[in-house]
C-alpha cells in the first residue's frame, strides 16, 4: 500500500517537475542560455498567488495573476539583461553569471519581503482530499497532475502545429538563417522566455498548495528538471516530461530505503549515470 502511495506521489511531483523541465527546455534549446534565474521565476509565482489570494482575490484570478506577472518578469529579464549582454558580445560565462545574480536578487528579495521561513499556502478547496483505490490524494495534487498533462499536450500542439511554434523551432535550429529570413530571433527570444515563464508559474503556484512556500526551494526543483531535460535529450519535449516523471517516481520509491533528506543524492546519482553512459540523453532530437 505504501508502495502505491509513493508511486502516486512520485507521479504528482513528476508532473509538476515535468512542466518546469519543458519550460526550461524551451528556453535552453531556443536561446542557448542556461537560464538559472528560471528558478527565481518559479518561486516568485507562488508568492504572487499567495499575496493575491490572502487579499481575497478568487483562486483562479490569483493563478492568472501569477502567470501574467511571471511572463512579464521573464520577458524583462530577456529584454533588459540577456539582450543587452548579447549586444556587447558577452561570453556564455558572463550571461550565466548575470543569470545567477538575477536568481540571487529574486530569491533574497522574496525572503526579505515575505520571510525566509516556510509559509503555509491554504485555499479553502485545496485542503479537500479524495480516496482513489486506497490512495489518499488532495485536490491540489489532482489538479497538479491535470495541469501537467494539459501543459505537456498544449506544448506539443503549440510547438508542432502553430505558426509561432514553428517559428520558434526554426530559430532554435538555426538562428543565423532565421535572421536573414526575417523570423526576427530577438523578438522570438523575448516571446519564448515570456511563454516559458508563464508556464512555469503553473507548478510554481500548485506545488506550494501542497508543500508550502519557501524562497530558496526553486534551485533544487530546477536542478532536477534540468537533469530530466538532459537525460531525456535536449530539445525533446516528451523526453523532458517523461524523464521528469520517471526521476520523481524513482526519488519517491527510494524513500523506502533512503531517508528523504538524501533525495538530492539520488537525483544526482541518476545524472552521473546518464553522463557516463548516455550523455546525449534518451530521446535525442535530430
Amino acid at each position: 500500500m505504501i508502495l502505491l502511495q509513493l508511486l502516486i506521489n512520485g507521479i504528482v511531483t513528476g508532473c509538476a517537475l515535468g512542466v518546469v523541465a519543458i519550460s526550461f527546455s524551451l528556453i535552453y534549446s531556443t536561446t542557448r542560455i542556461f537560464h538559472v534565474a528560471h528558478a527565481g521565476v518559479y518561486t516568485l509565482a507562488g508568492y504572487i498567488a499567495w499575496s493575491l489570494s490572502t487579499r481575497g482575490v478568487p483562486s483562479v484570478l490569483s493563478l492568472l495573476g501569477a502567470v501574467g506577472v511571471c511572463a512579464v518578469v521573464g520577458a524583462l529579464i530577456q529584454h533588459q539583461l540577456y539582450h543587452r549582454l548579447e549586444r556587447r558580445r558577452a561570453s556564455h560565462l558572463v550571461v550565466l553569471i548575470a543569470s545567477l545574480g538575477t536568481l540571487a536578487v529574486m530569491q533574497n528579495l522574496i525572503a526579505g519581503i515575505y520571510t525566509p521561513n516556510i509559509l503555509q499556502f491554504h485555499i479553502s478547496w485545496s485542503q479537500g482530499t479524495m480516496r482513489l483505490g486506497g490512495v489518499l490524494l488532495s485536490y491540489a495534487q489532482i489538479l497538479t497532475v491535470l495541469m501537467g498533462i494539459a501543459a505537456y499536450a498544449g506544448m506539443m500542439y503549440f510547438a508542432h502545429r502553430t505558426m509561432l511554434g514553428k517559428r520558434i523551432r526554426a530559430v532554435a535550429s538555426n538562428p543565423f538563417l532565421a535572421e536573414i529570413t526575417r523570423l526576427e530571433p530577438k523578438t522570438v527570444y523575448v516571446i519564448v522566455i515570456a511563454i516559458a515563464s508563464a508556464i512555469v508559474a503553473l507548478p510554481g503556484v500548485l506545488v506550494p498548495l501542497d508543500l508550502g512556500l519557501q524562497p530558496y526551494g526553486g534551485i533544487g526543483a530546477l536542478l532536477t528538471a534540468t537533469i530530466a531535460m538532459i537525460a531525456g535529450g535536449v530539445g525533446s519535449i516528451s523526453g523532458a516530461f517523461f524523464l521528469s516523471v520517471a526521476i520523481a517516481v524513482v526519488q519517491n520509491l527510494s524513500l523506502l530505503v533512503i531517508p528523504g533528506e538524501w533525495s538530492i543524492g539520488v537525483t544526482f546519482f541518476i545524472f552521473v549515470i546518464f553522463m557516463l553512459f548516455r550523455p546525449t540523453g534518451l530521446f535525442t532530437a535530430r
Partner: protein
C-alpha cells in the same frame, strides 16, 4: 585591534578561495558554483583530524588540500568530457549535495549545529593561539598561494589555460590535451580551496554548514567578479572589498531578520551590474 586582525585573517583566507575561483572561472572560463563545497570539505577534514588528535595541523591541512584535489578531479573529469553546460548542472548538484551532507550527517559533521571547539593550529609544536599570530600564519599561506598562482600563470601551462578560454578548438587542433589541462586546473583550484577551508575552521574554531552553502559560492563568485577576473590583483582586491561590505551595511538600519537576505541581494546586484557595465571588475581583464 583584534577586530581589524580577524578581518585581515578572514580576507586573506578568502583571497586563497578567490585565487581558486579565479583559476576556474576567470582563467579557464569554467562556470562553477561548487567552490564552497570544496572549501567546506577542507574545513571539516581539518576539524575532524585535529579534534580527534589523529593528525596535527600541518598534515591535516595537507590532507585537506589533497581531498580538495581529489574531489575536484572527480567532479570535473566526467562532466567536462561532455560539455560546459553539463558542468554547470554538476556543480549545482555537488553544491546542494554537499550542503545536504554537511547538514544531515550528524555523526561526522555535527549537523546544522556545526562542530565547535576546533583546537587552534600548532606549527611543529609551536601553538598559534593569538589572532595576531594567526595573521602571520595566514599571511604566509597567502604568500605561498599567490606565488603558486603567479608561477603557474607565467609558465607555458598558464598560457595554455588562457588559450583554452579564448579558443578551445584551436588549442585542441594544435595538439594540446584540453581535457587534461582543464581537469588539472580544477585540481589546483581544489588544493587552494581545501587548504583555505582548513585555515578557516582552525581560525574560527567552529564550522557549520551555513558557511559552505550555495550563497557562499555566490559570494566567492562575486568576489572574483568585483575584484577582477584573470588577474592576481583582482583576486586579492575582491575579498577585501566584499568582506568590508557587511560592515557598511551594518551602518544602514536594517532589521536583523532580513540582514542576510539584504546582503545576499546586494551580492546578486553586484554580479548583474558588473556583468553589464564592467565585466573586467576593478582590476582585471575582460571576462
Amino acid at each position: 585591534m583584534d577586530f581589524l586582525y580577524s578581518y585581515l585573517v578572514l580576507a586573506e583566507i578568502y583571497v586563497l578561495l578567490g585565487l581558486s575561483t579565479n583559476l576556474l572561472v576567470g582563467i579557464v572560463g569554467i562556470f562553477s558554483v561548487s567552490q564552497a563545497a570544496v572549501f567546506g570539505v577542507g574545513a571539516y577534514i581539518v576539524a575532524a583530524c585535529t579534534m580527534s588528535d589523529t593528525l596535527s595541523f600541518i598534515p591535516a591541512l595537507v590532507l585537506a588540500a589533497g581531498c580538495g584535489v581529489a574531489l575536484n578531479i572527480l567532479i570535473t573529469l566526467p562532466s567536462l568530457r561532455v560539455s560546459g553546460d553539463y558542468f554547470v548542472v554538476t556543480s549545482f548538484g555537488i553544491q546542494l549535495l554537499a550542503t545536504a551532507i554537511f547538514t544531515n550527517w550528524t555523526d561526522g559533521t555535527g549537523g546544522a549545529n556545526g562542530l565547535p571547539g576546533i583546537p587552534p593550529p600548532d606549527i611543529f609544536g609551536l601553538p598559534v593561539a593569538e589572532t595576531s599570530e594567526f595573521l602571520m600564519l595566514s599571511t604566509v599561506a597567502l604568500g605561498l598561494g599567490c606565488l603558486c598562482f603567479w608561477l603557474a600563470m607565467r609558465a607555458p601551462y598558464g598560457r595554455l589555460l588562457r588559450a583554452i578560454r579564448e579558443d578551445e578548438l584551436a588549442v585542441a587542433a594544435a595538439g594540446k590535451n584540453v581535457l587534461f589541462a582543464k581537469v588539472s586546473a580544477a585540481a589546483l583550484a581544489g588544493a587552494f580551496a581545501g587548504s583555505a577551508g582548513g585555515l578557516y575552521g582552525s581560525f574560527l574554531s567552529f564550522v557549520d554548514p551555513s558557511s559552505f552553502d550555495l550563497d557562499a559560492s555566490i559570494l566567492l563568485l562575486t568576489m572574483v567578479v568585483v575584484g577582477g577576473a584573470r588577474t592576481l590583483a583582482g583576486s586579492v582586491i575582491g575579498p577585501f572589498v566584499l568582506l568590508a561590505l557587511p560592515q557598511l551595511l551594518a551602518l544602514v538600519d536594517i532589521p536583523t531578520t532580513i540582514a542576510a537576505a539584504a546582503r545576499q541581494s546586494v551580492y546578486g546586484l553586484l554580479l548583474i551590474a558588473f556583468m553589464l557595465f564592467r565585466p573586467q571588475g576593478l582590476a582585471g581583464e575582460k571576462l
